[in-house]
């Protein structure tokens, strides 16, 4: 065989070998491209799922403060099995993301589905910063009742999932905001330590139908007894919990 032909055959053999290595990788990439477009919601859940599956054995019951099935004017915590892990920041992220996306029905969502938790930081002193996307103020129905419910859903769920968080600053798209969507105060920090231990929540399977109560109350708690005015003595009224300024 002439020398030139031998060289050509050798080159061809090398090309075939290279193809054997490259082709499977190429096929994998093509098959990835072919996968159907995901909805934003599905994509978001996909982000959470691998972590959940990896730690499947370590699932714990976490109360999710969604809107009550029977009365959308109040929150009704649902004990939800979640694998949140041990890192407080990861726990906070996962809990808040599940609060946004995991509600059993659209009517039970306290926050708009398009809301994204852009960032979550936790400092050593227990001060946390949660930065939500603009979808939160833009798509949340404006009003005192709706905004207070959204805020309570965030603070209560976070308080239950990550007890280390003592104070919470809420930012919108990286900026401090005066109000959530025109009504409820977002300036300063929310003091979560005044909330007390997390409320025992209803089991995930069956949320007991609670008696309809006025907006803004919590289903699993007895509504606070109305302080019958005019009371003779100056009674301490539970009120604002935002320490300001100095921090």
């Amino acid at each position: 065989m002439p020398r030139a032909v031998r060289i050509v055959i050798l080159l061809l053999v090398l090309a075939v070998l290279a193809g054997l290595v490259e082709l499977p990788a190429l096929r994998l990439r093509v098959s990835r491209l072919e996968r159907p477009e995901q909805t934003e919601e599905v994509a978001r859940r996909e982000v959470i799922r691998p972590a959940e599956e990896a730690r499947d054995a370590k699932k714990e019951k976490v109360p999710m403060y969604w809107l009550s099935e029977t009365d959308p004017g109040q929150l009704a915590p649902v004990e939800t099995p979640l694998a949140l892990g041990t890192d407080p920041v990861e726990r906070a992220r996962a809990a808040l993301e599940w609060l946004i996306t995991g509600a059993p029905t659209p009517e039970q969502r306290p926050l708009p589905l398009d809301t994204t938790l852009l960032a979550f930081y936790l400092m050593d002193d227990g001060t946390a910063v949660a930065d939500f996307s603009e979808a939160l103020p833009h798509e949340l129905p404006s009003g005192i009742a709706t905004e207070q419910l959204a805020l309570d859903a965030i603070t209560r769920t976070l308080h239950a999932a990550v007890p280390q968080v003592r104070r919470l600053h809420i930012l919108i798209d990286g900026h401090e905001a005066e109000t959530l969507a025109g009504h409820v105060d977002l300036s300063g920090a929310f003091d979560l330590t005044l909330m007390g231990p997390a409320t025992p929540a209803a089991p995930a399977a069956a949320t007991p139908a609670a008696q309809p109560k006025p907006a803004g109350t919590i289903a699993s708690q007895p509504s606070e007894p109305p302080v019958k005015a005019p009371a003779a003595e100056e009674k301490k009224i539970p009120a604002a919990t935002k320490p300001r300024g100095g921090e």
Partner: protein, 282 residues
């Protein structure tokens, strides 16, 4: 990176907040003669309110029938039609269709003013047309008045149609009263942002009395008021409530304007009951 930035922001804010320390003769009901805090100002040294400033009439005057004037001064109600200008407040879906909160609350406020004045009550509006008035500007109008009752009017996105819920400032889950910045010794001051601090109990009582009336005037309304962290109420140095009517989607302006008279009457009755309880005045 973020924390460094925030630290800077915070120190700037603290400086700004220090600047808005203003003298207050007292905190609300406990000490009569409270002076209203001033609106936020640019950073600088703490400003002490001039001692020459006239103190407003006490919220709870001592019960001495001899010194009481023959005709008590007229009650002042500060009506706050929320939102306005670019801020439409709550709206239907889509936003372009149907009534919007800012128009509804203005119509209601104007109707309420007519009825309140007819009943001998002095009325101050925080806005009289579709203008943009900031939350602090509204509070400044209210806090400049000696004594009064502040009512922020809203039409919300949810709730049973044609019902009303009253709110006073506070968190729904209760907890302790607000932790305030310790005041330097010798300076009786309150920060602008904490103007409501001395009125939390008073506002809660007023809200209870208002809600009782609302439940009668607008059937199927709740019996008890709620706490909410309403930004507007936070900066008001008066007994202050927010009333949120339900709801903007069903609202037709003609029928909502009709609620102005019952709402005004509810306020008159609630304030009368409040004054009777707090001052022993019939």
């Amino acid at each position: 990176m973020l924390f460094g930035g925030m630290g800077k922001k915070k120190s700037a804010r603290t400086a700004g907040l220090a600047a808005i320390f203003v003298a207050l003769a007292a905190f609300g009901s406990a000490n009569p003669g409270a002076q209203a805090p001033m609106p936020p100002q640019s950073p600088g040294p703490p400003i002490h309110a001039p001692t020459t400033q006239q103190a407003p009439p006490p919220l709870f005057p001592p019960p001495s029938p001899i010194e009481r004037p023959a005709t008590p001064p007229p009650t002042t109600v500060i009506l706050d039609p929320a939102h306005g200008g670019q801020d439409s407040g709550a709206h239907g879906d889509p936003a372009e269709e149907g009534a919007v909160e800012k128009d509804l609350v203005l119509a209601i406020a104007l109707g309420m003013r007519r009825e309140l004045e007819r009943q001998g009550i002095r009325v101050v509006l925080t806005r009289q047309n579709d203008s943009a008035v900031s939350i602090d500007e509204r509070a400044a109008v209210a806090n400049a008045l000696g004594a009064g009752y502040f009512v922020s009017l809203h039409v919300g996105s949810t709730g049973e149609a044609n019902t009303a819920q009253a709110y006073s400032f506070g968190t729904p889950h209760g907890g302790a009263p607000p932790a305030f910045v310790p005041r330097p010794p010798g300076i009786e001051a309150v920060r602008w942002d904490d103007a409501q601090a001395g009125y939390l109990v008073a506002s809660r009582r007023l809200a209870e009395l208002v809600q009782v009336e609302l439940a009668q005037k607008l059937p199927r309304s709740p019996d008890v008021p709620q706490f909410a962290e309403v930004r507007q109420l936070r900066v008001v140095a008066h007994p202050a409530v927010a009333i949120e009517l339900s709801r903007v989607a069903e609202a037709n302006p003609a029928s909502l304007e009709k609620t102005a008279v019952p709402l005004a009457t509810a306020m008159v009755k609630a304030i009368a009951a409040y004054r009777q309880a707090s001052e022993g005045r019939p």
